[in-house]
Amino acid sequence: MKTYHDITGDGGSDVLGQVTARARAIARALAGVGRLVAVGSGKGGVGKSTVTMALARALAEAGGRVTILDADLNGPSQARLAGLEGRPWIPGDRGLVPPRRDDGIAVLSMGSLLPAATPLEFDTVSSGEQQTWRATRELAMFAEILAGTDWGELDVLLLDLPPGTERTVQFAEMLSALGRVGFVMVTLPSAVSRGVVARTLSALAPLAGPLAENGLELLGTVENMAGYYCKDCGQVKPLFPEAAPGEEIPLAAECLARIPFDPELAALCDRGWPAGPLPEALRDLEPLARRLLASTVTEKEEVPR
C-alpha cells in the first residue's frame, strides 16, 4: 500500500502550493525594500511604538525612504502616533497603498481602520477554543498584508511588533524566512524590563546570526526612558534607580541608543507627531539610522531576493 510520501500532491487543494505561492507573493511585494527592521521587546509598555516612530523620523531625516507596518494588529498605535487615524486605505494597481505623512513616512496600521476601543474580532464557530488558532490567524493575516501592499522602493520597512516573548519569537521565525531582517529590542532601564528582554534575546539567539547566513540579525537594544529630559536645563536626569553593584541584568546585545523620557514627546504620542526636525531627545538614534541606511546598500547587493 502506498505511503504518504509515495503520493504527489494532496488530491486537489494544493495547500503546499498555496503556501509557496504566498511566500513568493511576499517576496515580490518586498522586492523593492532594502531591509526590514523589526522593533520588538517581549515586554509590553516599554515604548516599542514610540521608538519605531522615532527611528522612522531619524531615518527620514537622514534621507531614507521609510515605511512603518504596525504588526500589532489588535493593539495598533502607529496611526495615532503618525496622526493618520481615519485615513482610508486606497487600493492601487499593485496592492494597498499606505497612507503617508507630510515628511514622507508611510504608515500602515490597523489604527487607521479600527475606531478607538474597538477590538479586532475574529468571528468564530469554535467558541471557547480560539486560543488554539488565534496566533496562527494573526500571522496569516500579517503575511497577507505583507503580500498585498504596494511597498514601493524603500530603504527600510520598520515593523512595530506586538508585545510578548512568545509572539516576538513567532514573528522572528516567520520573518527570518524573508531574509535581510534586523531586530531592535526595546527595553526600559528597570530590572523587570531588562529581565524580560534578556529572556527574549535568549529565545531569539538560535534564530539570529550574520545576516548573509541566517536572514535575521540581532542588531541590538534601544533603552527607552533612559532618564528624564529636562527641557529647561537640557540635562538628562535619572528616572529609574540604578541597579545595585552585582545586580545588573546583562543583555546579550549591543546598546544602540538611549532615549530619555521627554514629556513633550509623550504628549505628541497622543496627538500625533508633526513633521519637522528630529527632537533633541531623539538625537541618540541618528547613528543607528545612518548605520541602517549604510548597510542597506550593501545588503541589497548581497542578499538574494
Binding site: K2, I7, P91, D93, L96, D123, E129, T132, R137, G148
Partner: protein, 158 residues
C-alpha cells in the same frame, strides 16, 4: 493530508467542499479508478485550525465542481462589500454596523474601481471599501471610479 483508496492503492481526488454545516467542512474525495467516494467531516475547531493557515480548501482550477472554500477571515465579499458568511472576517461586525448607518443610496462603484479591490488583502477589503465610500460621500460623489481612487490617493499624500 492525503487520502488513499486502499482497494485500488490509488490516491483519491478531491471532489467537492461544503462549509454550510455550522462550522463543519464536508470534503468529498473519490477514487479515480473505482469511483468509490468518502467524505471527511471536520468539527468547528478542526475547520478553524486549517483555515487559520490562510489557505483555501477545495478543488483547484480546472478540477471542476465548485470554487474553493475561502479560509476563515478571507471569505468571499459580496457586491456590497460585506462578507457573505460570518466565518472569519475580523471586520464583519463593524462593517455591518457601518452599513446600517450608511445611506442606502451610497456611491456606486464602477467595475474598474471595484476590480482594484482585488489587488489588496481580502481581509481588509470590506473596511477599505467602506473608507473610500465615506470619502466619496464627504466629497459629494455619487460614483467611485478609478479617477476618484487616484484623487483620494493624492488627497491623502500617498
Amino acid at each position: 493530508m492525503k487520502f488513499l483508496c486502499v482497494s485500488c492503492d490509488e490516491p483519491m481526488k478531491l471532489q467537492t467542499v461544503d462549509n454550510s454545516g455550522g462550522g463543519s467542512l464536508s470534503v468529498v474525495y473519490a477514487c479515480p479508478r473505482c469511483d468509490h467516494q468518502i467524505a471527511m467531516l471536520t468539527n468547528p475547531l478542526e475547520t478553524e485550525m486549517v483555515q487559520s493557515l490562510g489557505v483555501k480548501i477545495g478543488p483547484g482550477e480546472g478540477a471542476g465542481a465548485q470554487a474553493p472554500v475561502a479560509a476563515a477571515g478571507s471569505e468571499a465579499v459580496n457586491e456590497t462589500g460585506a462578507p457573505t458568511s460570518g466565518s472569519g472576517c475580523p471586520f464583519s461586525g463593524m462593517v455591518a454596523q457601518m452599513q446600517a448607518e450608511a445611506a442606502s443610496d451610497g456611491p456606486q462603484w464602477t467595475a474598474e474601481a471595484l476590480s482594484r479591490l482585488d489587488n489588496i488583502p481580502e481581509l481588509v477589503r470590506p473596511m477599505a471599501k467602506q473608507g473610500i465610500e465615506h470619502y466619496a460621500r464627504t466629497e459629494g460623489l455619487a460614483e467611485i471610479d478609478e479617477e476618484v481612487l487616484e484623487h483620494a490617493r493624492g488627497r491623502f499624500g500617498m
